[in-house]
């Protein structure tokens, strides 16, 4: 019997990790990548949009530009290969422009203040370029592609990338309003708009904007065509929703899953991972009296400096407060588990798996292998 995540990684060519910020999506994407390559022997790529290039550090590597091939641990399933790629949006835009436009136009566009602001400062453009990179990855990749989507409470923002890219780039229609298409009729129609546009946004800004769309026009056809093909690929994709056991992220995770289910097309909600779960302690009976006696037995003369009475009181208080604290923490763990099961309860709900909280963010392939094993993606099972 194969676990749901094994099945997803073996059968789907595109897997997306989705969820709100701070729940460890990048870690889970990295562990899924390791599981698919090392545990299942698949050729695997992991893609993330992250100027800080944290994906590399999760694998214990220094950040480097471009794709990195990860050296897999020994004793994996044959044929596995793992490549990770971190997109720096600003760099990716510059690459795209150099590739698609003539040298002269590319240089002009890169100097355009609007272009710099769009690609550097304003994050909506990151989704566009992620989709663009994803296209190229899907073209050349064999096996499994795992995409760590940008954090978002709604999660679907990234998927709306192609659609928004279309509406953004078809703002070419602005040129009609701004009167650059020439012709006496359009210029006449553009006049009131241009007047208002200049008045509100300033003549220089509107000029820059018009210039931006004129230069970016050379990118439009290719971008739209590739966006359509990514959209088609997303239809067969698997979504793995990542969350923490806290109530807020769980509510968002469930809402995200439900919205994926209700969408026609787009990725399917195939599994959920609850990350950062506190491990359940094995239960046992503690007799406080016996434990107090045991500690007193362990105590040497230096502990009895305050006299036997003082020691007895100190040990009693220590044990009482210690056991109370354990009880409280156990209740909390049970509360987490209950919230997790309730969030993903229901007929036909995709399976979910828990991953334990680590003391530190993963920074080595061994820690990731441990997480992959928790997700039942290790090479030994199957």
């Amino acid at each position: 019997m194969s676990s749901p995540l094994r099945t997803i990684l073996a059968e789907r060519s595109l897997v997306l990790t989705m969820g709100s910020g701070g729940v460890g999506k990048t870690t889970i994407a990295a562990a899924l990548g390791l599981g698919a390559s090392h545990g299942l022997g698949r050729s695997t790529s992991v893609l993330t949009v992250d100027p800080a290039r944290r994906l590399a550090s999760v694998y214990g590597l220094d950040a480097a530009p471009g794709p990195i091939e990860i050296t897999l641990p020994p004793a994996g399933v044959d044929g596995g290969r793992l490549i990770v790629e971190m997109i720096d949006p600003a760099e990716a835009w510059d690459d795209l422009v150099s590739r698609e436009l003539g040298a002269g136009e590319a240089a002009l566009l890169r100097q355009n203040s609007m272009y710099r602001a769009v690609t550097r400062q304003f994050v909506q453009s990151h989704d566009f370029i992620a989709v663009e990179r994803l296209f190229h990855l899907l073209q050349r990749a064999e096996g499994t592609v795992i995409v760590d989507t940008p954090p978002s409470v709604r999660g679907l923002d990234f998927l709306a990338g192609p659609a928004r890219m279309r509406s953004f780039l078809t703002l070419r229609s602005l040129s009609w309003f701004t009167g650059t298409s020439g012709g006496p009729i359009t210029d006449l129609a553009a006049r009131p708009f241009r007047a208002v546009g200049d008045r509100v946004l300033g003549r220089g800004f509107v000029g820059d904007l018009v210039e931006f769309f004129r230069l970016a026009g050379g990118l439009v056809e290719g971008l739209l065509d590739r966006a359509d093909r990514v959209q088609a690929a997303l239809d067969g994709a698997a979504a793995v929703i990542v969350t923490s056991p806290e109530s807020g992220p769980l509510i968002h995770a469930r809402a995200l899953g439900d919205s994926l289910d209700s969408e026609v097309g787009g990725p399917d909600w195939c599994a959920s991972v609850v990350n950062l779960v506190t491990a359940q302690r094995p239960t046992f009976d503690v007799d406080p009296v016996a434990v107090i006696a045991e500690i007193e037995g362990l105590c040497g003369p230096e502990q009895g400096a305050e006299g036997p009475q003082g020691l007895e009181q100190a040990v009693e208080g220590f044990v009482r407060r210690g056991l109370e604290r354990m009880e409280r923490d156990d209740e909390r763990v049970v509360g987490d588990r209950t919230r997790m099961s309730e969030a993903f309860a229901g007929d036909g709900m995709p399976a979910w798996a828990a991953v334990e909280r680590r003391d530190r963010p993963p920074a080595s392939i061994d820690v990731l292998a441990g997480i992959a094993a928790e997700l039942d993606l290790g090479p030994a099972v199957g």
Binding site: F122, L174, F193
Partner: protein
Amino acid sequence: MVTHPLSLGFLAVTGKGGVGKSMVAAAVGALAARTGRRVLICDLDASGDVAAAFGSPAQGYEPVPVAPGVDVMQMNTEAAIRDYLATFTPIPVVSRLGPVSRGLDLMGRAAPGVREVLSVGKLLWFVRQGTYDLVVMDGPATGHVVGHLAAPVSVGRLAAGGLLADQTSWMTDVLSDPTVAGALVVATPDDGPVDEALALVDRIPSTTPVGLVGGVVNRMPAAPGLAADLRLLDWVEHAIAQGGSDSASPGLSAMVGHLVDLRDRGDRALGCFRRLAERLDPLICWSLPDLGGDPTLEALVEILEGEW
């Protein structure tokens, strides 16, 4: 002299995703309302988290009361653009429906910074008009907030000579007045969130007109006992280690193991707290305790009231 967060007119709550920004924003707002101030909290990501903290369903663009003295709204950039055009542009009503309006609308969406400036502008307008005594902006994920707070300056520069640029100058004035506007960085005591908070401590003053007013480390784990308990714990741990693994009963081993884990986690959390606190110094870095996976706003407000 740094203004206390509660006496500001505009407070931006910032930090990495998942650190409890919305809960902190809600608690600050609720606490300010207790002192009689009229408060608006804006959910810039429109996640519904701020309203949820008050036990209310997600609200819309129009502010809605969720508690005595506290209104909540969700930002909607399209609505903010329309709002702006309707209020400020010299377009006759008739042509607002036509291609001129559509063109401006498109341009508002396409022109970098315009969405951000109108979102922040909407909130600062409330401050300027005195509609509310305190407007709390529950910021988007790290990085994005810098775009919002810097937008009046960058749009003012990019769109020089236009009406919008003229209007950004009063926004910049409000944002750069340390008695009126400030930013609070929020983190949890983990490496990633503290690194992001430290990046914000650098970036907010250097790339935006807004000054910092302090930090909050949320979800600090409670120490596993009193000071005397911790001394005894060290000693018992040591004695068990010396005696070998069979020297303690399973019950004692489990209890000591659990408390040692808590102590070590507490030490790491304290290390993270200090990293942020030292960088913020002389600004104050407050800490809020870990209230579990489903914290209540009342509990957080009580604790914050004690701290502040």
